[in-house]
């Protein structure tokens, strides 16, 4: 009698396990939850993000556009006498230029007082408008040295000059001579990985950026 009881109980539990397995298998085959691709939609990358042109396109000539006309600097400055002393005064022309360049306080730190189509060197001589780096080198020696060797400034084209041309930019292709720090710009889109964005709720790490330590409050 006892034997039979054991048998029956064994069959019953075995049967229950089988039922569970069958149900599980049916569930897996039907798979009521459709597969949802966790990959996010591709982000839009604006065209400027891959644009290789320099941030400035300066005229390498002493020209000043006024409306439809373009004047050489000397067209006017041959007639207008240079200021007699170095007293700082308000400019009456070229008021769009705001000089924010280190300790320079007036135009004639860089522009030649007699020949406005040129820059001035340390001895009062002339530096051609097409060679602005020689003017910059008067103060920025280490940067000029690095630029000469290619460690500062942009290069484009070929690293191997025997196979193709390499373009080297001059100082004013990146730096505004009247306000030289490289201007801030909006950043290109950041990484759009799974732990960002609206799907943040159903991802690991509790939606927290694991790269951000707890003491770093995320900023908006």
């Amino acid at each position: 009698m006892a034997e039979e009881g054991i048998n029956r109980a064994g069959h019953r539990s075995g049967f229950a396990i089988l039922i569970v397995f069958v149900l599980l298998a049916v569930f897996l085959v039907i798979s009521p939850f459709t597969f949802e691709n966790p990959a996010l939609e591709p982000i839009h990358v604006p065209a400027w993000c891959t644009d290789i042109s320099p941030i400035r396109q300066p005229d390498m000539a002493p020209e000043y556009p006024v409306g439809v006309f373009t004047f050489r600097c000397n067209d006017c400055h041959k007639i207008i006498p240079p200021p007699a002393n170095d007293r700082i005064r308000e400019v009456v022309q070229h008021r769009e230029i705001e000089l924010k360049h280190g300790i320079n306080t007036w135009c004639l730190s860089c522009h030649h007082s007699k020949n406005r189509d040129a820059f001035v060197d340390d001895r009062g001589g002339e530096i051609s408008w097409s060679q602005p780096q020689l003017l910059c080198a008067r103060c920025h020696g280490p940067v000029y040295r690095d630029w000469q060797h290619g460690a500062h400034g942009r290069s484009n084209g070929y690293w191997d000059r025997s196979l193709g041309d390499q373009s080297r930019l001059k100082c004013i292709h990146c730096h505004d001579p009247h306000e030289p720090p490289f201007p801030p710009m909006p950043p290109a889109p950041g990484p759009n990985t799974l732990r960002m964005d609206s799907k943040v709720d159903r991802i690991p790490h509790g939606g927290r950026n694991p790269l951000q330590l707890d003491h770093d409050e995320p900023t908006d």
Binding site: I43, I103, H149, R154, G157, W159, C174, A188, G190
Partner: protein, 345 residues
């Protein structure tokens, strides 16, 4: 021991009754139901296990040619021609663009080295997207070779770095920026761990992958101290018309699903003398690239004259990627008060 014997004899008895002599028909019916249920469960489990096959596309099954394709280094010229022709056709069929598939060899007397000026980088991420476009990286799921880290000033501490920064304007004067990508190590751990030799270092210093030989085990991803290797969880997804047709077998040809990929210093460009895409796009000129064996090159000058920082130098992988600094650093955040006669007094 005694218990075990008792159990064994117990099961012996139950087996006897299941086959059903004395106790009769009731037990054998139950036995039949149980066995049938077991068989059904087994069959359903098999079906369930095979269920993912429903998502199999015909492209997932390799052709005989693909299956028998040799390792890149073992291919003869004829093998390569045949394989390249097949890849050409596959790319054209999938993307509707006829690719220019090349296989530029390493140049003699050239070892590539990369320099990155930490004093000048402003964290604009243009390099990231130029790289994505040039190398036909998947846009969804997103794969990017370059990771730009926003760093706390005062140390080079990766623990406090953040690459999800998104202010309206960069640079943030409180931070500095450190882009990280493949360092093309001279002693690459990723190559050592590859169980199938699908990745190796070329004579010009570039570590490459034969995407058709890679088994996708991701050991190299785990071995890399610079987080420079990426895995294709799916077939790379590119927007229509954005396939960049100049490609090389070992660099930017479209990757299959389930393989690793990594930065190759744009070898399809650099092995024909051109600069990599990330160097060309950098608005600040922070990125420098060249042949370190040429003493006249920019990178040779940088290594000789500038202050150099090697990321994770202590792990001993001997990177070919060098961070460097300028004397006074970038001064974008330090306005200099204009000179006034009063300040002299």
């Amino acid at each position: 021991m005694h218990d075990f014997q008792e159990e064994a004899s117990d099961s012996n008895r139950s087996m006897k009754s299941a086959t059903g002599d004395g106790a009769g028909s009731e037990c054998s019916r139950r036995g039949f139901v149980v066995q049938a249920a077991a068989a059904l469960a087994g069959a359903s489990a098999l079906a369930a296990a095979l269920a993912p096959l429903r998502h199999f596309a015909s492209d997932d099954i390799p052709t005989i040619d693909e299956f028998l394709q040799k390792h890149y280094k073992e291919m003869t010229r004829e093998d390569k021609e045949r394989v390249f022709a097949r890849i050409h056709d596959a790319v054209q069929k999938r993307y509707g663009v006829a690719p220019k598939l090349l296989d530029p060899p390493p140049m003699d007397g050239v070892e590539f080295v990369y320099g990155l000026n930490l004093s000048r980088c402003i964290g604009c991420r243009k390099c990231v997207h130029a790289c994505v476009q040039e190398n036909n990286l998947s846009r969804s799921p997103e794969i990017q070779y370059i990771r730009v880290l926003e760093m706390e000033k005062g140390s080079i501490n990766l623990e406090t770095a953040n690459h999800h920064y998104d202010p309206p304007q960069v640079p943030n004067p409180e931070k500095y920026y450190m882009p990280v990508q493949c360092h093309q190590c001279a002693d690459p751990p990723c190559v050592k761990v590859c169980p199938v030799e699908a990745t190796w270092q070329e004579p010009d210093g570039i570590t490459v992958i034969d995407y058709d030989w890679c088994i996708g085990c991701r050991y190299c991803e785990a071995a890399c101290p610079y987080w420079a290797r990426r895995f294709n969880f799916t077939e790379p997804v590119l927007p229509d018309g954005e396939l960049q047709p100049n490609m090389a077998y070992l660099s930017n040809r479209p990757r299959p699903k389930g393989v690793m990929e990594k930065c190759t210093f744009c070898l399809h460009r650099t092995r024909v003398g051109r600069l990599p895409a990330c160097v060309e796009v950098c608005p600040t000129g922070s990125r420098k690239f060249g042949n370190v064996l040429d003493p006249e090159s920019e990178v040779a000058y940088i290594l000789k004259h500038k202050r150099i920082y090697i990321l994770k130098e202590d792990v001993g992988t001997i990177p070919r990627f060098f961070y460097y600094f300028d004397e006074r650093g970038s001064r974008y955040h330090e306005p200099i008060a204009p000179y006034t006669p009063e300040s002299d007094a």
